[in-house]
Amino acid sequence: MNPSFQLLPEQASATAVHLDHLTLYLLIVAAIFSTLIFALIFFFAIKYRRRSGHERPVEVHGALTLEIIWTVVPFILMMIMFTWGASVFFEMSRPPDDAMNVYVVGKQWMWKTQHLEGQREINELHVPLGRPVKLTMTSEDVIHSFYMPAFRVKFDVLPGKYTTAWFNPTKPGKYHLFCAEYCGTLHSGMIGWIYVMEPAEYERWLAGGSGGESLASNGEKLFQYLACANCHRTDKPGRCPNLQGVFGTAVRLTTGETVKADEAYIRESILNPSARIVAGYQNIMPSFQGQVTEEDLLQLIEYIKSLGKPGPQVGGPAPGANPPALQGGAAAPARSLVPKQNR
């Protein structure tokens, strides 16, 4: 890419192409109308310039047909903008089912990403070419926004909840990652790179480098460490619900309502268990607020998700060097409790 002068950002995903088509339409409409108005103003201003101080122009009275035309025509053009824009937006909002999942945690002022296979990165994200990537994102502190101009993807990352974004890279290369929501002093330093790699190269990257155990098995360790397993046992039913296969199902609550067991629900169940209690159980689960970090939560969620699947979670086969420690900042709500040897 020629860094000095470009007019279009890199187009590195199918969505980017779709969006640029929409942009073209918008630009054409804008060009037509601004040219029309500028031309008319210039034309009238010159043709009807005042020639003498006493001139009295004839009155032209309003014309209803004109009013209707210039109300309806722009309106129709705008409705095209709306539907087209909405359909692109819909595409941006619906990750395909086969997307690979990557977790993102934003904090002042860095991006932490975790692959299911266990790789963790800071301010970087490596992804394979041609495979849709779904990001499940949350923040440890304030609102950030995960922005990759080359894919035309941006979505806010909020504390206390999960948000989703996705993209399908179609061109290998190194692309900007920006934080696009103002988040404090080093907002402009909360940037990084997305590396789109050929699939084989990506496999090599996964295997080498900073491979560890898979996210789910880290989650399992946490599950043991935090003694969740003492109550939530898979062998015998008891005072606590069996978490096997619970993810994605509809859970009945004591209030009679049902909720879908999604990421947000699992997160709430761990941090604020008394908010929604599963029908048939007592409110005895302690809150783990302050004891688990956002990343720990994501690992626990991934573990609980993996419980639904038949076999144990696949994982990066080669346990390589350990990833760099992630929980550096004092702002983190709690220490990570991942047992030491895994870090």
Partner: protein
Amino acid sequence: MAEHIVTKKQYSYVFGILMALTFATTAIGMIDLGRLNVVVALVIAVIKALLVMLFFMHLYWSSKLNKLVIVSGAAWLALLLWLTLTDFFSRGWLPFPGK
């Protein structure tokens, strides 16, 4: 706008109704009616509010303009609630976190 003086007697009728409604809403509030609790409490509150506005605040005898003003205040509040709740009620319609 012709001046209209409301008598103390008229005020005391309204006052009586208001007190009765306060008692009623409190009493009903103690019984579990399920979802109806909300409905009943809000209906009574709206009736009370109307009574205060129409009679204590003389809206009943006021110009159309003043009525329009207060109606638009209520309408704008409704607007704020309506469009905000549009968001909260439609969250999760797409099966992805944060959509």
